[in-house]
Subunit: 194 residues, 2 copies
Amino acid sequence: MTDLADAVVAPPAADPSAVAAPAGTAAPAGPARRDEEPRWLSPVERAAWLRLLAVVELLPGVLDTQLRKDSGFSHFEYQTLAMLSEAPERTLRMTALAERTNATLPRLSHVVTRLAERGLVERAACPTDGRATNVILTDDGWAAVVGAAPGHVRTAREAVLDALSPAQVAALGEIAAQILTRLDPEGRMTDPGA
Amino acid sequence: MTDLADAVVAPPAADPSAVAAPAGTAAPAGPARRDEEPRWLSPVERAAWLRLLAVVELLPGVLDTQLRKDSGFSHFEYQTLAMLSEAPERTLRMTALAERTNATLPRLSHVVTRLAERGLVERAACPTDGRATNVILTDDGWAAVVGAAPGHVRTAREAVLDALSPAQVAALGEIAAQILTRLDPEGRMTDPGA
DNA sequence: CTCCTTTAGTTGACACAACAACTATAGCGC
DNA sequence: GCGCTATAGTTGTTGTGTCAACTAAAGGAG
């Protein structure tokens, strides 16, 4: 994994003569401008980072492929339907749904249009706010989620959970929670109600 | 995080009357067809899975945004250039580069075309195999990677590493390695040489 | 040497996501 | 109640990614 490691995270050093200054882990001899001198990664940090990057790169494809094949949904479509299936009345406002799925409003609007064409969701004007649109999961949509869920869970096991010891699963939960304090400080994806 | 949790991973149970069979964690009363009865996730598993999913969803956007803003690259373009910067002669075959970046050959071909238009890489016929194409990082491309690396490392710290204790970083490395045995059994992304 | 299969890569058509521009309603100040 | 600004969504355009078809060279069987 040396190539990937160095390439992504350290400045390129394959040709050391060409890049003296930014290559090293240590600061240059002279007084460094602090803002521009990054703290390079330690070997342990580098390994963790690169592997996380690989997971982040590969996992979406695995999920997408399984869902597409077994149920005809993209992962994003599945998440959209799943969020609705959990909501009271199986209904959510566009904005609320976009937050929970980490989608922009335009993206969600397009996806909802396509799902509506397939009869899985419906749009309805919000009675209390003329600007808002409610999205409602239809019975067909409900059935589709229920049908797709088992395969999705199986994939989660095969691709991730079953590769880990129980202690590692717990640790992963902790670690991911820590990371999310940076990536999602408001907890929009993890804590919809708040 | 209850909504997200249940929605993605458990079958929808907001309206219990509507979905008796597939909702529960326990097997139905009758003799279950083993292939179709998934093992639902325990609370700990579910929490870990959903948070991992959120990280996987959010991290690419963060990386992309920072690189795009500070250096004008997508994360994939950066990875492509970085791989080349590490390679002997700053040169790689299309196929080798595609493996290291987890790209399909068509995708890489398009990206290389665009990078070549910007003068960052060059195509060259492989002298030993008439079918192959070598991609070479130009001096401009080299300079671009060197310029982009510090910001990328800083983002890696801010978004992930600095949120974790040293022990957690080490644990993350272990866990991600375990997951990659499932996602990437051949180690193509993590072990280019082999 | 010739045919056939496999490998390497490019190209073009289509699908989807990001961004920007636009419409329409709500809510507020006066 | 008039006008302003902010909010909620939709629509169109543009850039990437995926898939399928295609070209071309390498390697093997006869």
